[in-house]
């Protein structure tokens, strides 16, 4: 029968990337379990046989723990802790013993008891908890394999680029099969938070999960294109489609490989002018990705998520715990925590007075303005940030500063909070740097004044452009006017950098402009000290910086500042030499 071509199966994108390879089916181990009556005088030794199998399984799990710990770190290895405890579960042991005492063989007893437990998991409504039955199944499988003296399947014999197809993959499988030839995982069950997904992300191997019946549809040797970005696989693609993907894949692979080489290299131009590349993050879960891409600091830690999906204000303790996690993980590198940047409407649900609809929310009561009007919100966040500062290098940053009075008022509150903590003997970093976002044109214009009272600034280009050009970027009727290349925007940025440098303070940009490689050279030429970008852009920006000459880009940038229209700016931009 000819193979049908181009069958597309949709699942859940669990780990990004594209992979092409031959299917390697990892069969579910089918155990043939037969009830065997054990005579009375052999029941004690049957129990002993069970105990031995459990001990052997424990040794295997410990080895897996060490292996995961070596490759992915302790956080991932903790999954195995739960598995070891399942082995020792007193309820399970009691029930299994009882069946053996009544005359069942060990295999049947284990299977029967675990089967009952699994059924109780299956009746759980919450998907996340339901999925935990997989942990139970995995341990059961291992005990049975040891009882039956069966070898677990391994993939050491792979000979070509392969995509592992399985109904389910256990964390142990994921790690033990970390062969170079494994290019992707295709799994029937699971979601984005399943162990397989987390492990695949940690290993950087593309994966699509939740494909339901894929493993029964796919045969060994089928060619598979796995697209972990959109969460689909293409079975037996036609030459045409294969070629298209292969091209993309090769390109993507080469690019990533090239970029990854830059990870530990310094951020400096060919004439040794250095800059900083930091990461923007939204929560503590993003720190490891940032570090893996070579971030040497967090330039913008947005704290808005702390306030989402809840019915009460976050407590000081919650602020502290979340921030401390990031600060500890960043160890010697700085973490720039921005105080909350939300409008009043977002706080109504959290117990703040209903403030009513605002005509112009972007020009209304938000960010630092709201914090100054309702200091309680501000104070509990500041306390959390200060306490976290005891664990590493924290920089505090205020959003939406429009003039010096707001800065002073915010600092006054900060001082009183510090005083309170000192009195209570709560430790924090007395030298914590305090900075301002420069995202309102008025603040940019008086940078010389602000610069005397802050330790650093970071330009929020998204808002700066929006406010300078009076354009709402999400309004499609005017979105075309939104342009980082507008001469007014470029001059304003340059002016901020120069004024800040006169006051001997560092300037960063944490808006999207910093992460757009087209602008890297100009911003560098303006004298920008720090680029704070999303983790995926870090290496791209580093690549540009490492391939230009500071002397040259400075000249080009100066020329650009003379331009009055976009066309001439674009023309000059295109002359930048990349070495």
């Amino acid at each position: 029968m000819p193979k049908s071509k181009n069958i597309v199966l949709k699942g859940v994108a669990a780990s990004t990337g594209v992979a092409i390879g031959k299917a390697f089916l990892l069969d579910e181990d089918d155990f043939c379990l037969i009830y065997k009556k054990i005579p009375k005088n052999a029941r004690a030794s049957e129990k002993k046989r069970l105990d031995d199998a459990i001990e052997k399984t424990r040794q295997e799990l410990k080895e897996i723990y060490n292996k995961i710990n070596d490759i992915l770190g302790e956080n991932y290895a903790h999954i195995t802790d739960a598995h070891i405890l399942i082995l020792d579960d007193p309820t399970m042991r009691r029930d299994v013993y009882k069946l053996i005492e009544d005359g069942a063989n060990a295999e049947y007893a284990i299977f029967k008891v675990i089967g009952k437990i699994i059924r109780s998991f299956e009746s759980i409504k919450d998907d996340y908890f339901k999925e935990r039955k997989v942990d139970v199944q995995e341990v059961c499988k291992k005990i049975l394999a040891n009882l039956l003296g069966k070898q677990e399947k391994n993939l050491i014999n792979l000979k070509e680029n392969s995509i592992v197809v399985a109904h389910n993959l256990t964390p142990a499988d994921t790690v033990t099969i970390r062969e170079k030839l494994i290019k992707g995982f295709v799994i029937d069950i699971g979601g984005k938070t399943s162990h397989t997904a987390i492990m695949a992300q940690g290993l950087g191997i593309p994966a699509v999960v939740g494909l339901k019946v894929a493993s029964s549809q796919i045969r060994t040797e089928d060619t598979i294109i796995l697209d972990g970005n959109v969460g689909e696989i293409i079975l037996n693609p036609s030459e045409e489609i294969l070629e298209k993907y292969q091209k993309n894949y090769d390109k993507q692979y080469e690019q990533i490989k090239e970029l990854k080489k830059l990870k530990d290299l310094s951020v400096e131009t060919i004439d040794k002018h250095s800059a900083l590349i930091f990461a923007n993050i939204d929560n503590s879960g993003e720190v490891s990705t940032a570090l893996n891409n070579g971030a040497r600091g967090i330039g913008l830690y947005r704290t808005e998520f702390m306030y989402f999906n809840r019915n009460a204000m976050p407590s000081e303790q919650e602020h502290f715990e979340e921030y401390a996690k990031v600060v500890k993980e960043m160890s010697q590198y700085p973490t720039t925590i921005r105080t909350v940047d939300l409008g009043g409407d977002k706080f109504t649900k959290l117990g703040l007075l209903k403030l009513g609809q605002e005509q112009n929310p972007f020009l209304g009561l938000r960010a630092i303005r709201l914090c100054l009007k309702y200091p309680d919100i501000f104070i509990s966040q500041l306390k959390g940030i200060l306490r976290a500062s005891a664990f590493g290098k924290v920089r505090l940053m205020y959003p939406m500063i429009s003039g010096i009075d707001e800065l002073r008022d915010a600092n006054k509150i900060l001082q009183s909070v510090k005083q309170e903590l000192r009195k209570k003997n709560v430790s924090f970093d007395e030298n914590m740097e305090v900075g301002a976002m420069i995202e309102i044109p008025s603040a940019a214009v008086i940078m010389d004044v602000i610069g005397k009272e802050v330790d650093f600034v970071s330009i929020g280009t998204n808002d700066l452009i929006q406010y300078t050009l009076a354009v709402d970027r999400v309004n499609e009727n005017v979105a075309n006017i939104y342009d980082p290349k507008h001469p007014a925007v470029l001059r304003l940025i340059k002016q901020v950098i120069d004024s800040a440098h006169k006051e001997k303070i560092e300037v960063g940009i944490c808006g999207e402009m910093a992460g757009d490689p087209r602008y890297t050279a100009i911003l560098l030429g303006f004298g920008l000290d720090e680029f704070s970008v999303s983790a995926s852009q870090i290496l791209k920006i580093k690549k540009v910086i490492r391939s230009v000459s500071f002397k040259e880009v400075k000249k080009v940038s100066d020329k650009i500042l003379q331009c009055g229209d976009k066309e001439s700016i674009l023309k000059i931009m295109s002359t930048i030499q990349v070495h």
Partner: protein, 87 residues
Amino acid sequence: MKEKIITVSNRMGLHARPAAMLVQTANKYQSSVKIIKDDFDIDGKSIMGIMALAAGQGSQLKFIVDGPDENEVLTELESLFKSNFSE
């Protein structure tokens, strides 16, 4: 014998890792630990029992501890919940 109602406050609820931490704590003591949620009661030293409770954030669990070190085990369990299992 001691009883106490504890609310699950960590974001992910009693999934695999918090359940493991709970059992590890309970195992350090001689006292028996029983956990009751809705109509279910399970052995607090049984990780599968705990995971099958499907106790998400906000669930109320009744702990019944009994034995020579019941005060100690209850105190340590409470602080484990308070610390949100270092989530």
